[in-house]
Symmetry: C2
Subunit: 463 residues, 2 copies
């Protein structure tokens, strides 16, 4: 039923048609189309991305830069006319990067380019020296005898490919996520990994990791891919031990301030559960966080603004620019603690760059198939493939999805995402404004469907 | 005449044909073809490039790393069987990079990524602070009133495009070459330029500059292109002054050792003038100098080795891996001083990466048109366009060409060269082995023609 129903809806374009089925009955699909296609001319998403990355730049979680970013966000969201713009504060532990270097001492003295991983232990100021022992995978490290590893600097490589859906990140991210704990448990002095990334530039990919209970924290860093290649060549041809001097300075601060920035488009139905659209405000510390995730904030905010300017949706739209995502989803967990028990009509997040959306997943439940199908049909003209009806994902909203809240996943093309992810190279020039507009169009259509139908405001209200 | 003559030569392939005209009469063009095409399977050029960049890495002119590179080169060239392998030493002043940083202090505090230019003055250890004033070109800076510039930090941008022939580097390199002197003459505290490069990564392009007579040296650095964009956005939107804190530490050392590494393939005619094939051994200090210029050394050496292995050329081939090219052609000038008055049959250099050769120029003189034409015909099957008969170029050999020595120019595709040039990103992974082999084939054919014909060695000699 749902397919032909939705086809009927779209066939009616541009004539308005009131849906006759279930939850989507108030939705004028002609209006959805109009809003969607109008958003292909959007310039707000890019302007937000440019403004945040230029006027604040990097905004590492729990730092003064993230606080400036919250101030910037509140000013911008208020200026755009959103309601109830506010900060939900929380505190968190903060890891702060210091000086870092990795030098091959023998047999071929030279500098390699390295970045510490988040939560790395600090070396002494003068660094540590040790023999490097290389492994092809975390499994190979697990299989090593402790005496092979003890006191040495472990190196782990991997062969992460570019994938459209970013699925390489899960499997090939193991050296970062599990490697430090395994190395520590075997008595390693430190661990150095090949960057979890798919590019060939001298910019290492940082990222968070944590030591499993009982594992003593050790220094942990990532080499850029060309430097990882270099170390592997050196390990392969050295006749004797390969010695590295590694300096990774950092400090840990307790109870630093962070917060979620929240704004709303009020709904006509004051009792209705909100549609939550999310992104994260914090970034890693070396780039300006353009694709991760200023772009996401620009995209969802521009879409919500288009709905707000078109009239009043049935349900409220809640925009959340989450704080402290990169280092442990602190913002998402704070939101869950405060609002996770309240009903949400749907939740969705944009946090995978700004390249085009290629697939829509949703998990709205068995009684909302018509709504899911209307969403698929509304997105198809943007070149978006219908995906699962049983899945949704998102980083900050992950805990809420785990709790069972209904969600939508607008999947961006991640082919080049891991070229840039968590590197100094995550800068504004990497955002393609044309692809970004397709994102805004998709989110606008999604909000037009999920928000339950938009009615023009009375003239007096629009001033 | 020459065209049909050379066509005849090639038409005779694979049958050997002794040329009947002028200087090329001893050349067996069938043999040239055979040697050329055999070189498309070469792996020596890549092995040399890999070895030098892995076992030595960066090798800045006049430093201990360049000395290690000379030792490496002598060992490798001797092991390959070349004759008269030696170092021609000289001394030179050396500029050594120290710590460097550029921070926007106001209105939007953030770090930019910068690299000092070679011969930059050093700031005090704590850096200097100043207001940034931006210019669209060196001409715009020249037109500025001194009171606009005095005591400020000058910024100059440009719009360098990618070009196949690298011609953008001349025009758009002006901010680096002339900007520091002009800024100093107008009383600027320092100068910061957009990197002379065509990429979009956070790796600044360094390079040498010098202050014209009478201009006081000032600190001079290059921002990466994304950081230059960022500074331009900040300058465009700031309501008040844009303040930068700039730290560019460096030191100047007098009389440091450098040298040219020379090797030879002996000729049958002991009186014959040599064919000189060149590259440079030194690199900038942040990458491993793979495309600039380990690849060039690999290419010309592999080609010479192929000639040597094929038999004895009429004329000697002289291979020179020049020292200290990047910082002022010290090696080329030393060679000219020592050997510039001696006759050379032809001189040529590979110093523009490892991408395919697309055009051959030559300047062999009016009495050697047949030789030039034979060279063109030998290269055409490799997809190499015949270029000028009145031009040749090369960096280290530039002074010799200015003196009027006959030369050949095998022009590499430079479209992506200035993405990598003088950055940390100049690493081995940027070398395409397939395109590199086309280079070796072209140089092998070139040497087969220029060396005047190869005779098989007596069996006893080949051991």
């Amino acid at each position: 039923m749902t397919k032909s129903f939705a086809a009927l809806l779209l066939a009616a374009v541009p004539l308005p048609l009131l849906a006759q089925v279930g939850d989507v009955r108030r939705i004028d699909m002609g209006r959805v189309t109009q809003l969607r296609d109008g958003a292909l001319r959007d310039d707000l998403a890019y302007a937000i991305t440019e403004g945040l990355t230029t006027e604040v730049g990097q905004r590492a979680a729990g730092t003064p830069a993230e606080a400036r970013a919250r101030d910037w966000a509140v000013r911008r969201l208020r200026a755009l006319g959103f309601a109830n713009v506010r900060v939900d504060p929380f505190t968190m532990p903060v890891w702060v990067r210091g000086a870092e270097s990795a030098d091959i001492v023998a047999p071929y003295p030279q500098k390699l380019v390295i970045a510490a991983l988040g939560n790395s232990a600090s070396t002494p100021p003068g660094g540590i020296s040790g023999e490097v022992i290389g492994f092809s995978s975390v499994e190979a490290l697990r299989a090593a005898r402790p005496e092979q590893v003890r006191g040495r600097i472990v190196y782990i490589t991997h062969a992460m490919p570019k994938t459209q859906d970013g699925s390489g990140y899960g499997v090939f991210g193991a050296p970062r996520r599990q490697g430090p704990t395994v190395a520590s448990q075997k008595g390693a002095a430190a661990i150095v990994i090949r960057s979890i990334g798919t590019d060939w530039h001298r910019n290492p990919h940082t990222g968070v990791m944590s030591f499993a209970d009982g594992a003593r924290p050790i220094p942990a860093g990532a080499l850029s891919n060309p430097d990882a290649d270099q170390l592997e060549r050196i390990l392969a041809r050295a006749q004797g031990p390969v010695t590295m001097r590694l300096t990774l300075l950092s400090q840990q601060l307790a109870n630093q301030p962070s917060g979620n920035v929240i704004a709303e488009v009020p709904g006509r139905d004051r009792q209705a559960a909100p549609v939550l659209v999310a992104c994260h405000l914090d970034s890693w510390d070396q780039g300006t966080g353009a694709i991760d995730d200023a772009a996401g904030c620009g995209i969802v905010t521009a879409a919500a603004k288009r709905i707000m300017d078109a009239g009043r949706p049935l349900r409220p739209i809640r925009i959340v620019w989450f704080g402290a995502e990169e280092v442990g989803l602190f913002g998402g967990l704070d939101y869950r603690a405060k609002y996770g028990k309240q009903p949400h009509h749907a939740i969705a997040e944009s946090d995978f760059g700004a390249d085009r959306i290629w697939k829509v997943d949703s998990r709205l439940g068995p009684d909302r198939k018509a709504e899911a199908e209307a969403l698929r049909q509304a997105l198809q003209p943007l070149g978006i493939v219908p995906g699962s009806l049983e899945e949704a994902d998102g980083s900050d909203i992950g805990p809420l999805l785990e709790d069972g809240l209904p969600g939508v996943g607008l999947n961006q093309d991640g082919t080049r995402y891991f070229d840039l992810h968590h590197t100094p190279d995550d800068t504004l020039d990497k955002v393609d404004p044309v692809q970004m507009r397709q994102n805004v169009a998709a989110w606008t259509a999604t909000l037009a469907v999920l928000s339950g139908g938009i009615e023009p405001r009375a003239r007096g209200r629009r001033r």
